[in-house]
């Protein structure tokens, strides 16, 4: 049989049994579409997190007080006792390492911020002049923290776009006074509108000198120290230096944890990739269900077309040919369903992207490929049994129904 004839013949059979064909296509396309949409969601979430971290800057190391003794230990280990706090002096000492370019001591807390009778809760981010080089920071107007921020409690602040809007409306904010807790700060800069960065909404943040923040929160210890290495290649050396320097200063005890952004990033990356894969795997089950449906319907088709199969045999069609005709029909259906599913999946992804504008949803290439491959494999696997049954029919029984 010529291949064009096979395609024509299959097309006619499928077009003739319209409801049957439509149902099978529906099942198959829903399966494929769910793989596409779910993996797009997972991949979108992953990209979002990766993006968040890369806006933190690429050469960054984070120094946390306390030490995790065992990898994957209980949360108590991680959050538990911190024998010695990190101090601003600890942070300044890190400049001794030749591999470290910038050090930004950080104190973070929530405090009420008010101006002219308007008050709201804001994230107060206490840091130093160097912070703008460690974390990607854009000041739209005015300037960032003064260079003395890690030495003296200068009463100045830089406010996020949302804070500016809510406390000052459209009036000029630069040079105005602001109350944070029970201290007064002069606004010297306004951050540009940049949304989320590193899990923090920059627009709702007030940046003040780290020494002032210690006074506001009445605590001498640092939340953490952000360090940027001279370049990516010395990240490891910088990490060793940090550990060595702080150990020296802390009576020879290694009581800090240094994490690189890469480590966090790769962990999140791994977690979300696994999540995406498992979600796509669940969706693939619906493909298998669609396959079983195809088998079912093909079996019914074989029994409905028994006399037709008998006729084929009488006309001298060898068993292999009959098997091929029915198998091709199943594969053709699966492939057609897969293509429809791809379209459906992309339309679905497009609509979901409209709902969550912050997140970029894109279906990874492997999801497209595997959805189509799995769909056609289901066609072959679940098409073989009905096709074999058709080929094995006894011609006399098939023709005369005896």
């Amino acid at each position: 049989m010529r291949s064009t004839d096979v395609i024509n013949f299959t097309w006619r059979s499928l077009a003739f049994a319209r409801v049957r064909t439509a149902l099978m296509l529906l099942a198959m396309s829903i399966g494929v579409a769910s793989v596409i949409v779910l993996s797009a969601l997972g991949e979108g979430a992953r990209m979002y997190v990766v993006d968040q971290f890369s806006s933190l800057g690429t050469n960054m190391l984070i120094v946390l007080p306390g030490r995790t003794e065992t990898v994957g230990g209980s949360p108590a280990n991680f959050l538990g006792e911190t024998p010695r706090d990190l101090t601003i002096d600890d942070a300044n000492a890190l400049y001794r390492s030749p591999h470290i370019k910038h050090v930004a001591p950080v104190v973070v807390g929530a405090a009420p911020v008010s101006h002219n009778g308007l008050e709201r809760e804001a994230v107060v981010f206490g840091s130093s002049y160097e912070a703008q080089f460690v974390i990607e920071t854009n000041v739209s107007r005015g300037k960032y923290l003064p260079k003395t921020s890690n030495r003296s409690a200068t009463p100045v602040c830089i406010i996020g776009a949302t804070i500016k809007q809510e406390l000052f409306k459209n009036k000029n904010a630069l040079g105005e006074w602001l109350r944070i807790g029970d201290r007064r700060f002069r606004v010297i800069g306004i951050l540009s509108n940049q949304g989320m960065s590193g899990g923090m909404d920059v627009d709702e943040t007030v940046v003040i000198p780290v020494v002032s923040a210690q006074a506001v929160f009445n605590s001498p210890s640092l939340f953490r120290i952000l360090v940027s290495a001279s370049n990516r290649d010395v990240l490891d050396k910088a990490k060793q230096d940090i550990l060595r320097i702080i150990k020296q200063r802390h009576q020879n005890e290694e009581d800090i944890t240094v994490i690189s952004q890469d480590a966090i990033l790769s962990t999140f990356d791994r977690i979300l990739k696994t999540l995406t894969l498992s979600v796509a795997g669940i969706a693939a089950i619906s493909l298998a269900v669609a396959g079983v449906l195809i088998m079912n319907v093909m079996l019914i088709a074989v029994s409905q077309r028994t006399t037709e199969i008998g006729l084929f045999k009488a006309l001298g069609s060898p068993p292999k040919q009959i098997q091929m005709i029915f198998l091709f029909e199943a594969i053709f259906l699966s492939l057609l369903g897969a293509i429809l599913g791809l379209i459906l999946g992309y339309v679905g992804t497009y609509f979901i992207s409209g709902l969550f504008e912050e997140i970029q949803f894109s279906t990874p290439w492997w999801a497209n490929l595997s959805a189509v491959i799995v769909a056609s494999l289901t066609g072959i696997v679940f098409g073989i049994l009905p096709a074999k049954r058709a080929a094995k029919l006894d011609p006399v029984i098939a023709l005369y129904g005896r």
């Binding site: 013949f9 003739f16 006729l311 009488a314 006309l315 069609s317 060898p318 292999k320």
Partner: protein, 229 residues
């Protein structure tokens, strides 16, 4: 000799009983012959036709087609013989409902992979022969019984077989269209094809040159040797 059956038996197991559809049948058929097979229901007429058409295998005995033993051929080889040498005409036509008359006639050539250009030529000729030119694009449901059977005959002869096996070809037709069908079959026979018709209709049976009567799975009378067994 075109067809030779030697001691061919075919039996079925029905419950605990063994039914002998064919019981030690010996038969020789010449090329170009016109044979009718008659007999009561269950006498083995259809079984004989199925064996001769290679749709069924005997339980014992040998079948020689054109002096070649085809009894033990593989299913694939038998299919090849059917495709090239044998045409079937059925009582219930067995046309494929979704295909037009043209496509139904074309089907055997489609299955054997004949070039589309030649297919077109042969289908056109067959449509002209069977007087169906204006029905080419009608589907079976749009055709009368006689037209359907003529489409089926055109299909069965499109591969230019040597023998044509017809099982009650007029069983579902009225007298007029039945006559048309028989005349068509006889015309094919005049052109050299071996025609074997299984029928209940005595008028139809009488028209054949050689008349075989079957009973209980045996050849009861055969007009060729006029011997009663």
């Amino acid at each position: 000799m075109q067809i030779t059956l030697k001691a061919v038996s075919r039996f079925y197991q029905v419950g605990e009983q063994t039914v002998h559809a064919l019981d030690n049948v010996d038969l020789e058929i010449n090329a170009g012959d016109y044979i009718s097979i008659m007999g009561p229901s269950g006498s083995g007429k259809s079984s004989l036709l199925n064996i001769v058409g290679l749709l069924d295998r005997p339980n014992s005995g040998n079948y020689f087609f054109e002096d070649k033993n085809v009894t033990s051929l593989s299913e694939k080889q038998q299919a090849e013989v059917r495709q090239q040498k044998v045409g079937f005409v059925f009582q219930s036509f067995h046309l494929i409902p979704r295909l037009t008359a043209y496509q139904n006639i074309e089907l055997p050539m489609l299955l054997s992979g004949i070039h589309p250009g030649e297919r077109k030529q042969r289908v056109q000729a067959a449509l002209a022969n069977t007087d169906l030119e204006d029905r080419a694009n009608h589907r079976p449901e749009q055709l009368s019984g006689g037209q359907r059977q003529r489409v089926a005959i055109a299909r069965s002869t499109i591969m230019q077989p040597q023998i044509l096996l017809a099982d009650e070809p007029t069983g579902n037709l009225d007298r007029k269209s039945g006559n048309d069908v028989i005349e068509l079959l006889e015309r094919l026979n005049n052109n050299g094809i071996t025609l074997i018709i299984v029928t209940h209709d005595p008028n139809l049976g009488k028209r054949a040159r050689r008349k075989i009567r079957m009973e209980d799975g045996k050849v009861f009378t055969d007009s060729l040797n006029s011997v009663k067994t």
